[in-house]
Symmetry: C2
Subunit: 921 residues, 2 copies
């Protein structure tokens, strides 16, 4: 351990720097950096994180020499601030704040106004001319210090209501009632003096010792309390949840106090160097005269705009006349032109120094500007895109840096409507954020009602939200017209979720508290009953179900967005395809930049119109002949779909998966539905029931599905292959370039694929012969079972491509049914048993090994093996990065995630070269 | 390719040897070996498999020189047999038979009596003095030759009924009817002559060519037909199913014909050098005077015994007087003492030469003995054990060889009753062979009825078979008293199957054709209705459900069995533990040699008596306090069970798994049951229904189970750990050595195990403190998810042992629910998509990689990591061998499979040293 424990800053210089966060914490390092930039930072010093570590390793004591270094640093602060700690005439007050490497907001302690004692109070009153201010500061110090230092840090856990804090609050309430004061600010100097006396008595009575009147004792008490708070319950929990190591420790920042509440010459404010909502390159901030920092945030008084331009805009949108504005809400630019000018210079300096938009905090004391904080500013996705592109034009950053400045996942905001961030909402319940975006509409409970309402011509009925216990493929027409879909059951891969994502439509799925009464046309959440026609709003990005109408904001795709995408395309190596089942979805995805289809699920087509009848006829057939007859009806319909998709994807590869779900998914299950269908199909209900019963599975996820269907019923694969190839041949004759890739699902052993491949190749040869045309095609497989990855060398003897089905692969590798995980997954995430939901973020340690193994073994057998991913992870940025690192050829994701994947793929390249993603705080 | 294509044998010498099976086929190699031993083998020669391969590689032609070599070999046969092929006076007849490396019984062609022509017939009649015999042989040659050579091998596929074979059979029937002959043997010489004429006309009319009258043409025609038959449909299918490569080809054996049907001085027979049923070291065989080989097998005439002693024993058990016996059924020893003496010498020579029990075929022609075949004899498990032990005493083989002579899987026969092999049975339907053994009893349909019947004192009601759609844990008392269990649903790991195996009780599970009508007390299979009280018989080793009473044979564990086991224990390195949940099962397993418990499933204990009430109370509790209250009731019950198990396993490790199944398994599901239980528990049916509903899972196999329960409800793991440790402490005080090993199920990430381990260690420390006693224990985990194997290095940081749960690991690696696999697994096995059922024989290629990876990674972290297996595979010989090869510490299996595993473990060592297992033909 080095013997430097304390780093000073202030007066245009500092011993620390921005890149010393590990030693000084984030706050300390940035204060040092600003000091180095010669910005007006109240002088102070940082006690390093190493002291914290030492503190805990040595029975909560300090290393030799810390006390001396603190005193030296304090002298320096006194010199710079022209005041003396504990001095009767010109006392220096300091704040003591925590500051860890990673931000842990509110998890550790702060003590302000250290240095106020019986001795220093008169001097400060004399200096400030503000007795009330000083006594208010003093009573705050007593409250804060006794609570934080004397009680919490000392490990005292008083019974409920018997702690010093509670007693003091009670005393203050009592006094306010007695004197008829409504607000704290109504308290007079005398009130405050009386409070101080009462507080001190509480301290003595409760803790058996007086409130310390020695400034150095106060200082060390506060420093110790901050270190102690590193191991407070809240902090430990926070670290556990956020995976922050216990060994890191916190630094302690001791800094001269400055006050924005010393009169009309004082103020405090926050600002962004550019507009964080739009990204406009205009300085944007708010301030309050004669106020403390927290007042701006608290929103009790209306804050004023920092810039004149901003102020005028504000007045206009709030119907405030220019005269009123000038009189009551002048901008800082007008009210304190000198301070403003300094601030303007500073913000420009900070932005060009940090080369990014900054979020700054400042205080003006007696007309003098002090900088208290600077950090990278949070921004909306739209702002991130605009700022990144603008900064490239301004020559501040490179294109590569610009690409790294935009969080790919945040692009979702740009592609879907979102809840107006200013709206007040009443959250009824929550479900899974199954498909992003927001939607407001009136509740209907059936797909038919959704259609009737929206087609009624009544504008009041135009916007509907379809609410179902769970959706089935027969609800498609209703989902299509609804603004959003809410289901009570089902997971992120439930029918509702998958279909809604494909449609780019908002969906909240598996909202377990929602109890739907289909017949009464109501749903209930605890005691709240929502009826047909009631307005609700869904937030598909967070899973919130909100009562009533909430304004949503529509996305606008800017030219900057296109610019970022174009730069991403220049950089990335991974191709980005889409998962799309219809010509329409395919077109949407292509517009978003998709370079082909990575997964076309043929079974979704089985539900449209009366196709399901033929499907059911096939399932109920007694023999091959009967199945073939039914399949012949399906063939032209499937062929038509494929033709449309090939046209939409002209020139791009289209991967089509043969039938995957178990057959019982195509049959009804309730007795009533069975009776009805039996009548319709002209078979006995008993026969139908027997078939439903015989197809029932204990674990359908692991049942008779995927290629297991195509093997036992080869005529199904045969029909599908033929439909694909006939479609390809037909559109090729139109001049369309069709590139079919046939994908066999759920292969576990090579021979399964071999037998299916033979059927596909036979169909291709037959069609080429019949149509007198040649075309290229590939035959490959999903890798979605651990065994497939483990034996990828064998499977690649047959497969021309692999597409990782990471949804099922994650399910089988973890042994978790995604539909059932709701019972323990939230608990697992809360307790960090899983670092992240493995169905959202690909699990590199486990599932990732299978990906790596499969690619390696597969390419050993077939060096030019094409490898992609078509699970949900294909549109998740960190998973895209992982696929890039494994040298995949492409990722495939739902249409609305294509831009996300494009950007993530570009970032993967840049990170490989050493670039860093956007900072997360 | 070498230029020797033909290998001669006969006359006390041969060009081939027994170890040349690849070149000469099994039959040819053994004939050569017998000739080399100077045994009286009819002379002949073998055309090699290489000729077959060449034949197919060169457009069905022969290599240069084969014809010359065949002619030379034929000359040698003529010299040795003293007859000439095609000679008018003393003609030689030959047989032409296939003979591949691996036995393919009945899949290829044979032609007998080659060499009979218009020219040779008179000579043969003169030589044999038996005109009828000669014409019968001739008409057989025509039938066989024209069918096999002229039609099949020529690729002619005549329409139904228009082939030569069908026409000839029709002609023969016609003639028999016309002449009033009942049997073929009633046909006179004239009849046969007329048939020959008719047959030849059919040949000419149908095939447009005459029946060949040239002996060499016949010979080459037959040789070619045998080669052709290698690629016949039947043979191809057989090879595909049995994994025999197409490239192997078949050899062709041409051998002088000898006839056992040339009069009373001729005979034919089969014999075993020891009794194949009991293993008794007594020569055992049957013969028929004046008969052909197939007559012995066909059973038209009662065969006679070869030895005098055997004949006397036969007479006694068939109530035949000694006079009658001597007159009508004399032994070969009496009837043809010279030939018998020769045979006796030969069998002894063969046994000591082959050093194993032989199955031989012989023919006596005119008093002269000829050997036609010798091969290793099939035998029962009891015989295998006895023969192996005896041969060691006799100094014929070593102990190690003896161990390799017994098929471990066959030991099942020794441990359970079996169906009397002589019984005629009427198979009603089939299910899964869920628990081996056989049982006969009267059908009952409820566990209560099973108890009532068996306790009634009525001997007619003592033996019952419990028939259920599926069993639930509440049926245990009925299963306990039943002789066997039959279920209509459920797989090899269903409740019925697992419990029955543990009890060593016969069970046929998942017999899908069985429709149970619980109320009517009947079950139906197609049109057959079986009522309560009807007799049925189950064969749990094959899955057969048999109508009526069938005699079963009880097992007797011989001293020889104990000897083999003792030798196995000397050799093996793998320990063998058992899966047992009760003190009783533990004792049974220990008697079978179990060296500890590898898997004790605590949940099975939850169903006994009224424990289930407390379990349900726990599940329905609203909060932790409620759950704890219910768990406190369970604790003493579990503790009592564990005490019993520790006592039974005194000094041996006992691995106890914490709760594994999803909670809904403990609740009823039908409305009626829910109502009933609600009443009993004093909760509202709605609440109970809600809970059942909320616990419902789409894929329970992948749901909220295993450690996921213990994590969300830590109080359950806590109670279980406490019960285990309190039990250990209690029995230790009695002087019992308890060695508990606590096993956490379904771990996928290391942190799951870590959190559960903390609970277990805390409970251990608490109990040690409370009881004032120290004890050793281990904490480990099941490895039953792919992710656990993939991250075994991390998991071994916590786990002190791994136990592979290969049932679930196979399910997740393949993505197959064992309960649902019935829909396609039979198809997969029939079509060799899987080489074997992966739930029975461990899949080395896929799942095996995870086993190997887990052991390697686990031991890298923790070199002394104890590794075992507790899935079904732990008792399957080839899987045991695989575990041995991976350096597992132990395998664990159900009590009745412990001996199998002990022997398999010994064989694994011996095979490692180069030994070979029992030959399978």
């Amino acid at each position: 351990m080095p013997d430097k424990f304390v780093y000073s800053f202030g007066g245009g210089t500092a011993e620390g720097r921005a890149d010393m966060k590990n030693l000084l914490g984030g706050k300390g390092a940035n204060l040092a950096e600003m000091a180095n930039l010669d910005l007006p930072v109240p002088a102070g010093f940082t006690v390093t994180t190493e002291v914290c570590t030492w503190f805990y390793q040595h029975g909560r004591t300090y290393p030799e020499g810390v006390d001396r270094q603190v005193e030296e640093a304090l002298r320096r602060v006194e010199d710079l601030m022209g005041a003396k700690f504990g001095d009767a005439d010109n006392p220096l007050l300091v704040s003591v704040r925590s500051g860890a490497r990673a931000s842990m907001p509110g998890m550790m302690e702060t003590v302000l106004n250290i240095g106020l004692t019986e001795k220093t109070i008169p001097g400060l009153i004399a200096r400030t001319g503000n007795e009330r201010f000083v006594y208010d500061a003093y009573r705050r110090l007593i409250q804060m210090y006794t609570d934080v230092v004397m009680e919490k840090a000392a490990g005292i856990e008083p019974p409920e209501g018997r702690g010093v804090r509670a007693q003091m609050e009670h005393e203050m309430d009592r006094l306010k009632q007695e004197r008829g004061r409504r607000l704290d600010t109504d308290l007079t100097v005398d009130d405050l003096k009386q409070l101080v006396t009462a507080f001190k008595k509480i301290v003595q009575d409760t803790l058996g010792q007086p409130f310390p009147d020695d400034p150095m004792e106060q200082l060390w008490g506060a420093v110790g309390a901050v270190f102690q708070s590193w191991n407070g319950k809240r902090a430990i929990t926070y670290r556990r949840i956020n995976g922050i190591p216990d060994e890191w420790g916190t630094a302690v920042n001791v800094q001269a106090m400055v006050f924005g509440n010393m009169g009309d010459d004082s103020a405090t404010g926050v600002a962004f160097t550019r507009d964080p909502a739009t990204g406009d390159p205009a300085f944007y901030g708010e301030y309050l005269v004669n106020a403390q920092g927290e007042d701006v945030v608290a929103g009790i008084r209306t804050p004023q705009q920092v810039t004149l331009e901003g102020s005028r805009r504000w007045a206009k949108s709030n119907d405030v006349s220019e005269d009123d504005r000038k009189a009551k809400f002048p901008s800082l630019e007008e009210a304190m032109p000198e301070a403003y000018k300094t601030l303007e210079t500073i913000y420009r300096k900070l932005e060009s120094h940090y080369r990014d938009m900054q979020d700054i905090e400042f205080t003006i004391q007696d007309g003098r500007l002090w900088m208290l904080q600077t950090r990278t500013g949070k921004r909306t996705a739209a702002a991130a895109v605009k700022i990144a592109v603008d900064m490239v034009s301004e020559g501040l950053i490179s294109k590569e840096e610009a690409l790294l400045r935009v969080e790919p996942g945040s692009l979702d905001q740009l592609l879907h409507p979102t809840i107006d961030p200013k709206a007040q909402v009443k959250v009824l319940t929550r479900g899974l954020p199954a498909s992003p975006g927001a939607a407001t509409g009136r509740v209907v409970f059936s797909a038919d009602d959704a259609v009737t309402w929206t087609e009624s011509g009544d504008p009041q009925k135009k916007a509907v939200i379809l609410v179902r216990t769970e959706t089935s493929p027969e609800d498609i027409h209703g989902m299509d017209v609804a603004r959003g879909i809410l289901t009570a059951r089902g997971g992120m891969t439930s029918h509702a979720a998958v279909v809604a994502r494909g449609m780019g439509k908002c969906c909240v799925a598996g909202a377990g508290e929602v109890l739907v009464d289909f017949h009464a046309k109501t749903f209930r959440v605890k005691d709240t009953v929502v009826k047909e026609g009631d307005w609700i709003t869904l937030d598909g990005s967070t899973g919130r179900v909100i009562l009533g109408k909430v304004d949503t904001v529509d996305p606008v795709l800017s030219g900057d967005f296109g610019q970022i995408m174009a730069w991403a395309d220049e950089v990335r190596r991974l191709k980005v395809r889409t998962n799309a089942d219809t010509p329409k979805d395919s077109q949407v995805a292509r517009n978003f930049g998709a370079e082909g289809i990575g997964l076309c699920r043929t079974e979704h087509m089985f539900f449209e119109g009366d196709r399901i009848d033929a499907v059911r006829e096939m399932i109920l057939a007694d023999d091959v002949a009967g199945r073939r007859k039914a399949l012949e009806k399906l063939l032209p319909m499937q062929r038509g779909d494929f033709e449309g998709i090939f046209r939409a994807m002209d020139g791009l590869p289209v991967t089509i998966r043969t039938l995957d779900p178990p057959l019982h998914e195509f049959l009804p299950h309730s007795d009533a539905e069975i009776e009805e269908l039996a009548g319709k199909m002209g078979v006995s209900a008993d026969k139908l029931r027997d078939r439903v019963h015989s197809l029932h599975e204990a674990n359908p996820m692991l049942g008779h599905r995927g290629c297991r269907l195509g093997l036992v019923y080869p005529e199904i694969s045969e029909m599908q292959a033929r439909a694909i190839f006939e479609a390809a041949a037909n559109v090729i004759k139109e001049g369309v370039k069709a590139i079919p890739e046939i994908m066999i699902p759920l292969v576990g052993v090579a021979r399964e694929l071999k037998l299916q491949e033979e059927i596909v190749r036979r169909a291709a040869a037959d069609v080429m012969k019949e149509k007198g045309i040649q075309f290229e095609y590939l035959v490959g497989t999903m890798i979605e079972l651990p065994r497939a990855a483990l034996t990828a060398d064998k499977i690649a003897e047959v497969a021309e491509f692999f597409s990782y089905g990471t949804n099922d692969l994650t399910q089988t590798t973890y042994g978790i049914s995604r539909d059932d995980a709701g019972k323990f997954l939230p608990f697992y995430l809360d307790h960090k048993i899983y670092p992240a939901d493995p169905f959202q973020v690909l699990d590199r340690d486990g599932v990732g090994q299978l990906l790596a193994m499969g690619v390696e073994k597969g390419r050993k057998t077939r060096p030019n093996l094409k490898v992609g991913i078509c699970g949900e992870h294909g549109g998740e940025p960190s998973s895209v990065e992982f696929c890039h690192s494994l040298n995949f050829n492409y990722v495939s994701c739902s249409p609305y995630r294509v831009p996300i994947a494009r950007l993530a793929a570009a970032q993967a390249v840049l990170k490989e070269r050493g670039g860093q993603g956007p900072v997360k705080e």
